[in-house]
């Protein structure tokens, strides 16, 4: 009897169904990831008139993207690797990239959910509306920006094996990104920090998401930010893949 290899689409569908179920059963953590950008969006209502709707929306979305990539993705990968879940999957006729792709698809869906939620709350609570093109471009740049933080999460989980250390490291990086990002953006920490923040992974993602909400304002600064965003994602992903080990033992 000839050996038959299951189709990649069949394998991916089975993995995706399991990963979505896992995500659904962890819905408390999902809600916590969704709630932070909403809180920031609501608390910054007073800034809408001064700084503009895209400024507030883009900061909220960026913080949601950081939470997804750093906290949800990397911690789930670290836990499953430590428990031997990946080893069990890898002894089946499964190409390793399908295991990770399934996880990334779930996180991409989370990114779309965060972006949608921010737009809904922004519209209903802060009365911020965008053009259809603005909404469409924002989803696109949110996906590109999300890739930066997912690859950063991959890099952390590649470098660090212990799930506890991955958790504490991602929390620390999340905190630094939020503090330096938000306060640097508001010029609270001085010009040098503001400039540093502008070209950091936080700043470049925030810039492309903000400008994509008003596509007419796209300029060379935004293009540079887009290139840097893609560059960050490529560097983090390359290192994350290079360093990653499927087994902690």
């Amino acid at each position: 009897m000839e050996t038959v290899i299951p189709k990649t689409s069949t394998v991916l569908a089975a993995l995706l169904k399991a990963d979505l179920t896992t995500q659904w059963r962890n819905r408390r953590a999902v809600i916590l990831t969704l709630i932070v950008p909403v809180i920031i969006l609501m608390s910054w209502k007073g800034l809408v008139a001064a700084a503009g709707g895209p400024f507030v929306l883009s900061n909220s979305i960026t913080i949601g993207l950081i939470a997804t990539g750093l906290m949800s993705y990397s911690n789930a990968i670290a836990r499953d690797r430590d428990k031997g879940i990946f080893q069990r999957l890898r002894v089946a006729p499964v190409a390793p990239w399908t295991i990770i792709l399934s996880r990334l698809i779930v996180q991409m869906m989370m990114i779309l959910a965060i972006t949608t939620l921010v737009f809904i709350v922004g519209n209903n609570y802060d009365k911020i509306t965008l053009t259809p093109a603005g909404y469409a471009f924002s989803y696109l740049t949110a996906i590109i920006g999300g890739a930066v933080y997912l690859s950063l999460g991959q890099m952390i989980v590649g470098r660090i094996t212990s799930p506890e250390t991955v958790s504490s490291t991602t929390r620390l990086v999340y905190f630094v990104f939020i503090m330096v990002g938000m306060f640097g953006e508001l010029n609270v920490l001085g010009k040098s920090v503001h400039d540093l923040e502008h070209w950091s992974p936080y700043g470049t993602v925030k810039t492309i998401v903000a400008v994509s909400m008003e596509p007419g304002k796209w300029n060379s600064d935004t293009s540079t930010s887009l290139l840097l965003t893609i560059g960050y994602a490529l560097v983090f992903a390359t290192l994350g893949i290079k360093w990653f080990k499927w087994n902690t033992k």
Binding site: T10, Q87, V91
Partner: protein, 259 residues
């Protein structure tokens, strides 16, 4: 049928290293179709490393592994599709119910299992009423039964079991032995690692004793006892006058306790 076709697994000149430590040194053995083959050895002897190389979890330094005619290095997916595997410590996504874990692994092997299909599988192992529990909520014996059924869900030609009865009570262990023999009766071969000489004698058609990464003996359990029963070292470690497989094992691998 020539020798190559008679073997479902052929391992030749296998070497596995972890940094400077060579865990497996020039290991060669074969498993015949429809036989239960045991890999025995003290802790750290290289059993799990050998099995991990066969499973594709470790890349060997050198040597070849052939599963059902497929070279594992050249056609890893085909080799793995021919295998059913139960790892030493099995873990599935803790959020999933048992029924969902079975559907996941069915899907991974290209099977489309309905809820009724999975319930029928669970009924066969007397676990239908546990279908909507999470794997971690099952007892050790129940977990082993689920792991074994997942390892054989796609009707593999060779089933690899890494210390399958560790931590089980005598009843669960006996039941598992019967299930392993049932796998063989369906025409599958089984390669298992074990510390239990009783298990090796009761279940295995042939065994290989592995120590310090090398295979030091391969034979049937009884032939191995007969071959060594007159050895001075074996008689010296014998406890009750009757020579057992454990006496032969201790004599061949030494009395020192391994880490």
């Amino acid at each position: 049928m020539d020798q190559q076709e008679a073997n479902i697994l052929t391992v030749e000149g296998l070497n596995v290293s972890y940094g400077n430590f060579q865990a497996v040194q020039n290991v060669s053995f074969s498993v015949r179709r429809g036989e239960i083959f045991g890999l025995l050895g003290p802790n750290g002897a290289g059993k799990t490393s050998t099995l991990s190389a066969v499973e594709g979890l470790l890349k060997p330094e050198s040597g070849s592994i052939n599963v059902d005619g497929y070279n594992a290095a050249e056609k890893p997916l085909y080799a793995r599709a021919s295998l059913g595997v139960q790892l030493q410590s099995t873990s599935f996504q803790p959020e999933l119910f048992v029924i969902e874990v079975l559907q996941l692994y069915g899907g991974i092997y290209g099977l489309s299992l309905t809820k009724n299909d999975v319930l029928a599988i669970l009924r066969d192992i007397n676990l239908e009423d546990q279908a909507f529990k999470k794997f971690g909520q099952l007892s050790g014996g129940q977990q082993q039964r689920v792991s074994l059924v997942i390892a054989t869900i796609h009707n593999p030609k060779l089933v690899l079991l890494d210390e399958p009865t560790t931590g089980l009570d005598p009843q669960s262990r006996r039941q598992l032995w019967e299930r392993i023999e049932a796998i063989r009766e369906k025409g599958h071969a089984v390669l298992l690692t074990t510390h239990s000489m009783e298990e090796a004698e009761s279940v295995c058609d042939r065994i290989a004793i592995i120590d310090h990464g090398r295979v030091i003996a391969i034979d049937t359990p009884q032939a191995m006892i007969d071959k060594h029963r007159e050895d001075k070292e074996v008689i010296a470690v014998s406890r009750r006058g009757k020579i057992t497989l454990e006496d032969v094992f201790i004599a061949l691998t030494g009395k020192a306790v391994r880490a």
